[in-house]
């Protein structure tokens, strides 16, 4: 692998990422499965980087999952998007930052459509006015939350107490980065590093001392497929695509996986469990599975945040082996306790997967 070749490609995709004053919109999937990641993102930006992030409680789903399961028409979703732009405009912000990769894709698609079909933008303004009496300005900057962390990766490296290095042998941890399809595959220019060799996560990993693995199925979809997961009868699609990725990354023995899309992170975590239970297979040597992290969790870890406050106990694949490798001190007993330290039960152990 020649790094120079990659750098040449990266130099073509230098996307602009706003520096401060973000209008933040949440992700349904991230809130459901990784709510602590959103908390962590806000803490890092506000407390560690002293940035201004505004959240309006009146924002909603972008309806992206409805759009990509084909029950929500384009006219509807673009007007929902327009409403979010209106909330941003009313709050006096110009930098729009969605937490979800599906949403990010939706916003890029809508803005691109409006550019090519201005009559659609006019329609959106009209619909929005009729429905809500709101008006909006198009954001100056649209960045995904992973873009923002990417932008501050070096600052975070300086502030951080940990590096992505195995404390036992001093070697960089080997990391699989998985980029959500809708981050840059639709509009390569909208993603850091483009679609083929995205740099948004690999840039973080490298800045924080880890080593990125390039495995053959790196660019393959995690297999969410919207309707292909949501409908029980279709789930084989989802599973088989994730499986293909695991088989392809296995020979490289990754220490962990990091994803910028909340759906991908959840699937890559859960399908390892399902495959282990169904077939008795794990893709790491220890039989515990490969930990899967969101980039917020990863940033939080190097910044010394408590893994259980970040919600890493919500993963099916235990993260402790990774924490031990990095040398993070954590309290084993606290993992499954409630916010006030109360006992709220513990998950059943899986049958095959080791804890």
């Amino acid at each position: 692998m020649e790094q120079e070749g990659k750098k040449r490609i990266w130099s073509e995709y230098q996307k602009e990422i706003a520096d401060d004053h973000y209008f933040y919109v949440r992700s349904c999937i991230r809130q459901t499965f990784f709510p602590g990641s959103e908390t962590t993102f806000l803490k890092i930006l506000r407390d560690d980087l002293s940035r201004d992030v505004f959240e309006d409680a009146r924002h909603t789903t972008c309806t992206g999952i409805g759009y990509h399961t084909d029950i929500v028409p384009f006219e509807t979703i673009m007007t929902i998007a327009a409403r979010h732009f209106a909330l941003m405009t009313e709050a006096g912000y110009v930098n729009f930052v969605p937490s979800c990769v599906t949403s990010f894709g939706i916003y890029t698609e809508i803005l691109d459509t409006w550019k090519h079909f201005p009559e659609m933008e006019a329609k959106a303004r009209d619909y929005l006015w009729t429905a809500t009496r709101r008006e909006f300005k198009i954001p100056d900057n649209l960045s995904h939350t992973s873009d923002i962390i990417y932008r501050f990766r070096n600052e975070l490296a300086e502030l951080s107490g940990h590096r992505l290095v195995n404390k036992n042998d001093g070697k960089p941890l080997k990391v699989v980065e998985h980029i959500g399809c809708h981050y840059a595959k639709m509009f390569p220019k909208c993603g850091v590093g483009g679609a083929e060799f995205p740099a948004v996560l690999s840039g973080m990993v490298e800045a924080w001392g880890g080593e990125v693995i390039d495995y053959p199925e790196r660019r393959h979809c995690c297999g969410f497929g919207f309707r292909q997961y949501l409908i029980k009868a279709n789930r084989g699609y989802s599973l088989s695509n994730s499986k293909k990725k695991f088989e392809s990354m296995q020979p490289y023995q990754p220490d962990f996986i990091v994803a910028n899309c909340p759906g991908c992170a959840m699937f890559l975590d859960r399908w390892q469990y399902t495959i282990a239970e169904m077939e008795g297979i794990t893709y790491d040597k220890s039989g515990k599975g490969i930990p899967v992290l969101t980039y917020e969790e990863l940033a939080g870890l190097i910044m010394g945040y408590d893994p259980w406050v970040m919600g890493m106990q919500m993963h099916q694949i235990s993260v402790e082996p990774l924490l031990d490798k990095i040398g993070i001190v954590y309290n084993k007993k606290d993992k499954y306790l409630g916010s006030k330290g109360q006992y709220i039960g513990v998950p059943q152990p899986p049958h095959f997967l080791l804890q």
């Binding site: 949440r26 349904c28 809130q31 459901t32 709510p35 602590g36 959103e38 908390t39 959240e55 309006d56 409680a57 009146r58 999952i65 409805g66 399961t69 084909d70 029950i71 929500v72 028409p73 384009f74 006219e75 509807t76 007007t79 929902i80 409403r83 894709g105 459509t113 619909y127 009729t130 429905a131 809500t132 399809c181 595959k185 639709m186 679609a195 660019r219 979809c221 297999g223 969410f224 497929g225 949501l230 409908i231 029980k232 009868a233 279709n234 088989s240 695509n241 293909k244 859960r270 399908w271 469990y273 970040m310 919600g311 919500m314 306790l337 409630g338 709220i344 998950p347 059943q348 152990p349």
Partner: protein
């Protein structure tokens, strides 16, 4: 040029998704669906560009158009600048408008999606919420999720969410006046009518299959049928 073809061409996603296809197979080569199903996005493009209504109708009534995962991986690579995934979205829209979707096993699943995701959007302001991921329907989620699910308020509180409460934060309750704005938008933009259309065609089909589709939610025989039925004839 036939009627269906013309209607397809009115959809921006058809215009954007299919300019002209040279049958190179680049899209199929990396399509996650083509690897799993008997599915070939190249052939879909070729069928549509032939502009033959009979074949388009067949397509709209088939399982085929429902195999795509809308990952849009095909957009990155097509040397002609097409996006088969977008074309699929236009086909699915038309299939639902014409009522053809109830002719296929995979198409009928739209009913379940409308009931779950559609209702969730309109009544809560979320596409997806923890409570929808019921471990009984989602064994693949594993025991940790089951634990989360059984302790939602406590776990969500611990990780800093604002679970079902007012004000900003993860999983906050979305205020009624906001929901009424969302419903208004669905009214004005045709989203509501589209939901209604899916309901009506599905109910007709349910009648035909002698299954009850209920008025709301997933607690009915037609829902269970479309949500779980897999004939295994898709590979």
């Amino acid at each position: 040029m036939g009627r269906l073809y013309e209607r397809l061409c009115e959809d921006l996603r058809c215009l954007e998704g299919l300019k002209s296809c040279m049958n190179c197979g680049v899209c199929t080569a990396i399509c996650p669906s083509a690897e799993f199903y008997r599915y070939d996005p190249r052939k879909i493009c070729d069928t549509v560009q032939r502009a033959d209504d009979e074949s388009i109708e067949q397509l709209l009534k088939s399982d085929t158009i429902w195999y795509c995962g809308e990952c849009m991986s095909c957009k990155t690579r097509c040397p002609r600048g097409n996006t088969p995934g977008l074309l699929i979205m236009a086909l699915r829209k038309l299939s639902q408008e014409m009522g053809y979707f109830t002719d296929s096993e995979k198409g009928r699943q739209q009913f379940a999606i409308r009931r779950v995701i559609g209702d969730s959007i309109l009544t809560t302001g979320y596409c997806m919420r923890p409570i929808l991921v019921n471990p009984a329907n989602h064994p693949e989620q594993g025991p940790v999720w089951e634990w989360v699910y059984n302790n939602l308020p406590e776990v969500m509180d611990k990780v800093g969410a604002n679970y079902l409460k007012d004000g900003p934060g993860a999983l906050r309750r979305i205020a009624p006046e906001v929901l009424s704005e969302i419903n208004q938008i669905f009214q004005v933009t045709g989203g509501q009518d589209f939901f209604q259309l899916i309901e009506e065609f599905s109910k007709d089909k349910a009648d035909e299959m002698c299954l009850d589709a209920g008025e709301l939610g997933g607690d009915n025989a037609y829902f269970s049928e479309v949500y779980t039925k897999n004939s295994g004839n898709h590979h």
